[in-house]
Amino acid sequence: MKKIKTPLDGKQITKLKAGNTVLLTGIIYTARDQAHKRLVRAINQKKKLPLDLKGQVFYYCGPTITPKGEPIGSCGPTTSSRMDIFSPAILRIGLKAMIGKGRRSEEVIEACKRYEAVYFLTYAGCAALLSQYVMAKRLIAYGDLGPEAIYELKVRDFPLIVGIDSHGKDIYERRCR
């Protein structure tokens, strides 16, 4: 079991191998379909982004409504492959890790290699359990998207499995391709 802290740098990333179990502490940002679409549009139009992505981690997640007195509601991963068409552009400008569930495209694997980035899996369909590792939640951008907005989450020992490492090794290779 490896422990890592955000922001992530190349040194931490290159040590991770597909299949490793990891506990992550620090800041991660939720982003899913519509947020990705907007970010990539902004990148293409050379507009300023609502957050600096260097060394950061995206979590493909749209949490439930936060219950009163809790830091966050249920917050498990959504299907990562829907983000495949956007991820290379976002990794290119410095994002270091993605958290989600399921397989990724060849292009994403290639981009992980090229930009020294990593794709993590987390317990799929275990949203109530995962909420227990989140200390705080704060809106960062695109509030009009509701659950699809970008939120900053402060997490402690968030459980992960390395799905694709920065050497291009994929945990699903052979198994499901």
Binding site: Q34, C61, G62, P63, T64, I65, T66, P67, G73, S74, C75, G76, T78, T79, S80, S81, K101, G102, R103, L121, Y123, A124, G125, C126, A127, A128, L129, S131, Q132, D144, L145, G146, P147, E148, P159, I161, I171, Y172, R175, C176
Partner: protein, 291 residues
């Protein structure tokens, strides 16, 4: 004639939305525990443990089992002797919104599928059936879209072999692979028309699944309640074939790729054989009440 106020139905629907999203179905929980005990792959075991733990946390803390609280789908079997006061569909939609708001459940429904505006809670998908008697049965199935996206329909030739049909179903499970939160419950609709087969496939998910410890292998030990023995045999065979695919929990391998296969059938036309497959993730949530 029995009178019922739509206001009362609104309240019940609200409670059912919360109950379904927070308390995992007993039969699913049993099947998960059973799979946990059978599983030999250590990582698969650890993931199953997390899934079972998740159901416990959600129950204790009143948190949604999954952040995707689904597209609320409401099935109503209404006795012909019941007269409902007020606008029934409106009451159901209001009930859904009330329950989802009170339960802190996610607003996942965009009113314009192309413009994709800010999501809300309504409308629900509502299926109404008229039945005999003076009772009303309401079932809420909040189906997540990770697995809904993997739904497939094929219009087979009436002369298709059972092998061809099985291969289509196995292929559907393989395409979903690790992406839609396995272990799955596989709902299959056979017969009817294109649209009706899809409805049957989803309705198959409403049926209870059962542990059945006297047969072989993890999948095959979970028996469905289908009375038709030919269909039961097909369910069993499919389940054991699916559990040989080595997809496993989170798609990381293991013998637990599906918890159950449920089939619903309906008469069909001489010229065709519609087969629909609706996969459910392990978070198969549902709540029912009879009034």
């Amino acid at each position: 004639m029995r009178w019922m106020k739509s206001e009362q139905i609104k309240e019940i629907v609200a409670r059912l939305c919360i109950e379904a999203n927070i308390r995992l179905r007993e039969d699913i929980l049993k099947a998960l525990n059973f799979a946990y005990n059978q599983e030999k792959n250590l990582r698969a075991k650890r993931i199953l443990e997390a899934i079972i733990e998740n159901a416990k946390v959600s129950r204790e803390k009143n948190l949604a089992i999954c952040q995707d609280t689904g597209f609320p789908t409401v099935y109503m079997d209404i006795g012909q002797k019941i007269k409902i006061e007020g606008d029934l569909k409106r009451a159901v939609n209001k009930g859904v919104e009330l329950g989802y708001r009170e339960g802190f459940l996610r607003n996942s429904i965009v009113s314009d599928p192309l413009k994709r505006n800010k999501p809300g809670w309504k409308p629900a998908i509502i299926h109404i059936d008229l039945v005999r008697g003076d009772k009303i049965k309401i079932t809420v199935l909040p189906k997540g879209f990770g697995c809904e996206n993997k739904t497939r329909l094929k219009m087979f030739n009436p002369t298709a072999s059972q092998r061809e049909i099985k291969d289509f179903i196995l292929e559907t499970v393989k395409i979903a692979g690790p992406d839609a939160c396995p272990p799955y419950v596989v709902g299959i609709g056979i017969g009817g028309t294109a649209d009706y087969a899809c409805l049957l496939a989803k309705k198959a998910l409403l049926k209870k699944i059962k542990n059945h410890p006297d047969t072989e292998g993890v999948g095959t030990k979970i028996k469905t309640t289908n009375q038709n023995s030919k269909i039961y045999k097909l369910e069993k065979e499919l389940l054991s074939e699916i559990n040989k695919l080595n997809i496993g929990p989170m798609g990381l391998g293991g013998r637990t790729s599906a918890l159950a296969v449920n089939i619903e059938t309906y008469p069909t036309h001489i010229a065709g054989l519609p087969i629909a497959v609706n996969l459910s993730c392990h978070a198969l949530r549902m709540a029912t009440r009879v009034l």
